[in-house]
Amino acid sequence: MLRRRLDLPLDRDGSGRFLPWIVALMVYLSSLALAGTLVVRDVLERWDQGLQGTVTVELPAKPAGGKEDGAVELALKLLRATPGVLSAEPLDAKRTAQLLSPWLGAEVDVAELPVPRLIDLRVDPARADLPALRQRIKAAIPGAELDDHRRWLDRVIRTGFALQAVAFAIVVLVGAVAVLAVVFATRTGLAVHHAVVEVLHLIGARDGYIARQFEWHALRLGIEGGIAGLVLAVLTVAGVAAAAERVGAIDDAMRLLPIIEAPLYEWALLLVLPVAAGLIAMLTARITVLQALKRMP
């Protein structure tokens, strides 16, 4: 692939021998970082969409002795009369027990515990005025809280952004290391083939002609290494995905783990990495050779 006639025997020296391996490692790390970014973004988007229009009203626990105080009915009446509220359903004892079971176990009777009473609210985000509703529910039922999950979600989104920034930094660092590797390999190639480069220069080869010899060589090595790195990364991501699916099958609650569900076209972005690696190697080799040739008479 990409083999063409070269005046310089770049294939036969050791200057570029390790370059495909270095590029493969770089593309592997970049692919994982990029895949991680896609997964984090996908998970955040799903959580954000999942929680859109979902609000929980938390009423204080029943008074001692389990006597009904009418708070749930009052809250429901107020909520259902509020514009933008699509539905308001109290969580029954069974559902509350289910929610608490990871911490308290399945056998516990929540009716005997002073747990807050919850109302699951569906609202139209465009119409519902949540701050006003919060004030009204607090005024009607002392101790009541309205949680739109925003505070929790904002923290998660900030963490997600931080993770994406770290992944981007990794890609940039990895790219910088790849560029350095190509610079050193090209300089070594120039040193090894100095005599031939000088002959080409003296018989009237333009700098671009000589640089092209190194460019094509670097492009080929970059793409070969890039493809190897991408294949390894795809295998790794597939392994992680399979593991995540298995964990999810054991316990549905664990589906918060990054199940890989980003659209195919986003995953196709990963295919760009080997090409990008090849082009970066090509451009770096060109600039390195042109700089070196400038020092010749």
Binding site: E198, L200, I203, G204, P297
Partner: protein
């Protein structure tokens, strides 16, 4: 065609290997460059074929001052100069054909023309049977002829040869010199460096003699011993 005015040259911070060189080579001329080993013959030739820059003085090639010439114009100028290097400097991994084709390829000549011209020239220098041979498989004389073919394939106006007969026997050396004379008759300006006084004496061309970094012009003896 070639003009040097008070040219001096030194390598790095070392002493001057060439001092106050002033010369003028007219188009179509043939000069030998003589002098003992270490006299500076190769250094002078390097200045002519633009492998080195002078430390001082003015060098003009083809009526162009090389000190003020833009770098982008240098390759075109170099293509007008053919060089036979002292150690041939053939590219080992390329065949004789590809070595000779190199100046045409860097000049962007069409491949069908390259095939035609290179085959014709290699046949002319007696290497028709060795077109695909690598330099390492050729004798010293054959390598020499490949080097000469590479130097002349682009029909240079100026041909510079640095000890072109240094590695061949007397008979082949004489025949190579005759080949240079043929090229000269076709209009190529020649500068041939040699420390082989016996060989040079057999030809009727003026000598540029270098001694201790200084150049003197010696007229042709007038009666060469053929």
């Amino acid at each position: 065609m070639v003009r040097f005015e008070n040219v001096g040259m030194r390598y790095g911070a070392g002493p001057e290997v060439l001092r106050d060189i002033t010369l003028r080579l007219e188009p179509g001329s043939f000069h030998f460059l003589t002098g003992a080993s270490g006299a500076g013959k190769s250094s002078l030739l390097k200045l002519i074929y633009l492998a080195e820059r002078p430390s001082r003085g003015l060098i003009s090639l083809f009526e162009r001052d090389i000190a003020t010439m833009p770098r982008r114009e240098m390759p075109a100028l170099r293509r007008r100069i053919g060089v036979v290097f002292q150690d041939f400097r053939l590219i080992e991994h390329l065949s004789a054909f590809d070595n000779v084709a190199l100046p045409l390829r860097v000049a962007g000549v069409a491949e069908h023309q390259i095939v035609e011209h290179v085959s014709e020239l290699l046949t002319w220098v007696g290497l028709a049977e060795h077109l695909q041979a690598r330099p390492a498989t050729l004798s010293g004389g054959q390598q020499q002829r490949v080097a000469i073919a590479r130097a002349v394939i682009g029909r240079p106006s100026l041909l510079v040869a640095d000890e072109p007969t240094g590695n061949v026997d007397e008979d082949l050396a004489y025949r190579l010199m005759r080949l240079f004379e043929e090229l000269n008759k076709l209009g190529t300006t020649l500068v041939v460096a040699s420390h082989n006084e016996t060989l040079v004496d057999r030809f009727d061309h003026p000598r540029l003699h270098l001694a201790h970094g200084e150049l003197t012009l010696q007229r042709a003896p007038g009666k060469a011993k053929r």
